[in-house]
Structures are given as C-alpha cells and as structure tokens.
Amino acid sequence: MESGRRVPNRVLLALMLAGLLAWLALDAVSLAPNRIVPGNSYRAFEIGGGWPALAMTLPMLVVAGLAWRPSPQTLRLALWSVLALLVLLPWWLVAASASLVEPEMPQARIGIGVSIWLLLFVWLLTLIELRTRLGLPRQLGWLLLLPVLASWWVALVWWLEPLSLYREYQARSDQFLAAVTTHLALVGAAVLASLVLGALLALAMRRHPGVRRAGFGLLNFLQTVPSLALFGLLLAPLAWLGARFDALAAIGVSGIGWAPAFLALLGYSLLPMVRNMYVALEEVDPAVIESAHGMGMNRRQVLLQVRLPLALPIVLEGIRITTVQAIGLTAVAALIGAGGLGTFVFQGLGQAAMDMVLLGALPILGLALVADAAISALSERLRPGGAA
C-alpha cells in the first residue's frame, strides 16, 4: 500500500501509552480485611509475581504496534485486541483476588483501584476511536460490548465474591432493585409529564407571543435555581398542601418524598423540552407549510401531518436531553427522601464507603448512556424522508 496512508494513528498511540503507564505506575487493587479497616493498595505487577499483569500488557503493546502502521486490517485486529482486554480484565481481577485473599479472611474486600478505572476509560475511548475509523455503525459498537458484559457478569457472580462493590450489592440487593425501579419511575414520570406539558406550552407559545416571552423567562429562571435549593423551596408549600388536604396526603404528597422530587424534575425538564419542541415546530421549511396551506390542508392537518412529523427528530432530541438530565438529577432527589439510586451515593458519602457510592453512581451512568444511545437510535430511524 502507498506510504501516504500509513501515518501512525496518534490518538491510539497516546491512549495505549496512557493505559500502559497507569497499569505500571498506579494502584490496581486494594485489599482490606473487612469493611471498616482501611486496606493496602497494590500495583498490578506486585500481584502474583507480575505474570497476570504481563498478560494484560501484551495486548496493549499489540494495539500500540498496530496503530503505528494503521490499515483497515490492522485496525480491525486492534479492535479485537481491545475487546479481548475488556473481556480479560475481570479474570485478571479473579486472579488477583485469588492470590491476595487468604482463606482465613472471610470478610476480605478487594477494592478496584485508580489504575483499573483509568484503563476502562482509556479502552472505551479506544473502542470509540476504532469504531469511527473503521466506519462501523453505532449499533454494532453496542453489540460488540455484549461479550464484555457477559464476561464481567460471569466473573462477578461466580468468582469475584470478595470484590467490595459486589459485597455492597449483595448486602442490599433487594434495596438495589427497588432503588433502580424508583429511579426509573421518577425519571419516566417527569419526562412523560414534561412531554405532554411541553407540547401544550410550545403550541400556546406559537399562538401567543406573550406566553412565549413569559414562558421562556420562567423556565430559564427555573433552570438557574440549583437543584438542591429547588427541592428545598418546594418543601414548605408541599408540606402545607399535604397537611391541608387529606386526599393529597393519602397519595403521598408531603414536603419530602416523591412529590417535591417529581415537581422539581418536571421544572428542570420543561425547558429543554419546550425549547426543542418550539424550535422544531418553528423551523419547518416555510415553503412546505405554504404549499400545505395552498393545497387546502386545514390548520389541524398542517400541524398533525406536516409540522409534527417534520419536527419529530428535534423533539426526540429534546426528549433525549431531558431524559439524560433527569437521570442525573434524580440522584439528588434522594436527599429529600425520594429514593432512587442517589440513596446509595449519599449513604456511601456519609459512611465514607466509596464502594457504596459507586453502587449508586455506576448504574446512574449506565442508565444515562443506555437512554442516550437508545433515543439517538430511535431518532435516526425516524428521520423524515426515510433513513435509507
């Protein structure tokens, strides 16, 4: 092949170098005899004579070497290598825990160190870079992660009992499931309600300029109130409502709990929703609207058959932003007793148990990523004029 195309891929080289450095120099795992006592940290090469760590190093060197002379073939090989690394990593943890944990330490906990988190981050970036370079569709990228998830799951369930994150989960697996459900219910309710309300508001704004100015003013203001403050502000009026009307109290309206959380989430969700909805309806090609009227469509037909379908991708974009934002904000709602995954984050912070914080934070991250990807894929599918 001509030499011009074979320039080293600097991004991949830099990522692999960063990964190798982290692997060599930073702490990979920590071992604590129980939940209270702080543990000792170990670098990767200090465990098991360094052989397992060396086995993980080799694929990284391979990727770096392939990145030196990139071509579709070498990049594909690099992609498989990175996937192999991701599949192997839990088994390195299995090996590490086997070599560190003595049989007389039943409460021993293996903590995941900086080095491993960095590696995961770097490898995911590498995957994204390789996927873009190779021009693979986004969906395929997600498909490739399936064996990785499967490998982690198998390792966790059968061999990684001492992993502190897993121990935290096992200690409260029922609570965990309930928290995920509450979290999703709150997000779903807020997004749905803001979708309906947002649509009505956007339509009203298009009719009346006065509503538009006032509406955007209020929503912009709401967006600037810190979330915790908003929860606080809702506390008094809702507590009063709950105390005053038994019917409201019966469905759980009070100063704390789901009611203020839902209202605050709704408030934050409305701005991105309304803004996208309004812009989407406004930005449809005027010539299309004129010809729709000119052909004899009435207002309702123009709205339902022309404006809305053409606005749909931007509306979905609004739903995407709102959903991702709500997933994050709901974590804060745990502070006012609304439940959800944020409960673990704040309890963990209170007990200085970082693994418990992660038990809340990681699923939140995962949910946000999945929601983002799913809605993006949907909007790609629904693009007007056919995706093909």
Partner: protein, 313 residues
Amino acid sequence: MIELFGVTKRFGGETAVDALSLRVEKGEVCVLVGTSGCGKSTTLRMINRLIEHDGGEIHLEGAPVRSFDEVTLRRRIGYVIQSTGLFPHWTVARNIGLVPRLLKWPRARIQERVEELMQLLGLPVREFAGKYPRQLSGGQAQRVGVARALAADPEILLMDEPFGALDPLTRQSLQKELQELQARLHKTVVFVTHDMDEALALADRLVVMRKGRIVQQGRPIDLLHDPADEFVESLLGGMDRGLKEAALTRVSERMLPLGPRLLASERIPYAAPLSQALSLMLWHRVERLTVVDDEDIPVGELSLRRLLGGKTS
C-alpha cells in the same frame, strides 16, 4: 374564469397591489411579469386567499372567492411554487395524491390518478413512486410539484415562478412540457415570472406589472410591436425585441412551397421558430433553408427575405 375588480393590498404603509383589475378567460394562460416587488406574487396568492385582499373583489366563475370556505377553495385550485414545497417525509406518490386524499377519494381511484399523472409528466411509476423528494433532481421535483397541483383536476392552476430555480436547459424543457400539457388540458393558468423569455413563450395574455399596477396587457406579439412605454420596452428586451418576436413566430408561417430550384443544403423543421432559422443562416452563411416536416421530408423553403417579412422569395 378569474376576475379581479379594483383589488388592493396593503402591507403596513406599503401598497403592494393598487386597484388592480384583470380578467383571465377560461383556458387561457395569463402570465404576470415584472421586476421583483411589483406585486405579481401577491396578486397570485390573493386568488387562493393565502393572502387576503384589502379592497376590491376577486371572482371565480362569477362568485366572490370570499363566498367559499378557504380550504374548499384551495382544494379546487392547483398551486405550484418555486421551491416545490414537496413534503420531505412523504414519497413522490403520496405527495402527488395529497389533494385527492384531502377530498377523500377512494384509495383505488387515488392510486390510479397518481399513476396517470406520473405518466403524463414523464415520471416512470416504478422508478419514482417510492422515492423521497430529496432523492430527486430539481427538474424531477418540480414535475412532481406540477403533478401534485393537477391531481384533483382543478379548473385553475396558479404557478408562482415554478421554474425559477432550475438550470436553463431543464427550465426550457419544462416550459415545453407545460405548453404540451396545456394544449391537452386547457386549464385556466395564472403564471408569475420575472423571466421575459419564459413569459413570451408561455403567455396567451401577457400582463406587465409595475409598483402594484398593470402597465400593459395583451397578446405577447402585440406588446412586442407596440410597447406602452419605455419600461415595457426595456422589460421586453429593448434592442433584442426583434429576436424575441422571431422566437414567437414559426417557420411554417413564412415558408414558401418548394420551387423549381435545387434544395438548399441546410434544413430546418417547420415548427421551429424564426429565430432558429436566422441563427442557422448566420452560422452557415446561407440565405436559403429547406423546410422539413417531422419525418425530415422537404415541404417548403425559407429565404432570408421571407424570414424578414418580405412578400416575394
């Protein structure tokens, strides 16, 4: 038949259309021409009430347009605009079937009508029915636009610079197709353009507008011969008027029967315009052409003198 009686439209302080009166006969192609901002588009859009007139009256077949429900009115009037306004999320077939569907025609009849129109406008059904507007060239998209306007077989067709965004070649072929269509369909057409060649080629009645008023109207050939003022004259091409007139006259109107002389070597179809004959003479430096029919069989001859309007050969 469309009649405008003293129609006025003001936008704020500006008078866009000023007491304009006009009568478009049934089956006539009326072309409104003028510089931009002269009120020609506004006039057109007042007919289907996309813009409401402030003064005067507009009648359709003798009834004021305001006596109709505006949606019903528009479904009876075909409308074509420069940027086509095709719905990007609908296929070609669905776009064309829009008005019949609004009129709740049975499904089978809509499909039949759509296919008929696609054939009429040279869009092979199998190739184009399932395509989306962004997969079409400019000319194809505008053909779909015209088909959509004709779908419910309206009496009246309003066309607002329909070919303005097309390249010259496509524009000319679409103008020609429109002429052929009109020869078959005999619609009442109001056509807005700022392209004088297009106006001259298509118009039965040419209406020159300026500042919201009609400066002159009549047959294109009459306007060429007798422009009302310098504005009309310059709009008609000034010194080029001779060529424009020649473009409106066919060779068959000036040719003589074949004489005893040898056939001239250069040939011209009898339906071609005189301007093309003149161009051929200039190019080949000859004073005589053989006129041929559709099968390339000589039917007459044309001399430079006859072309110029002389009585003898």
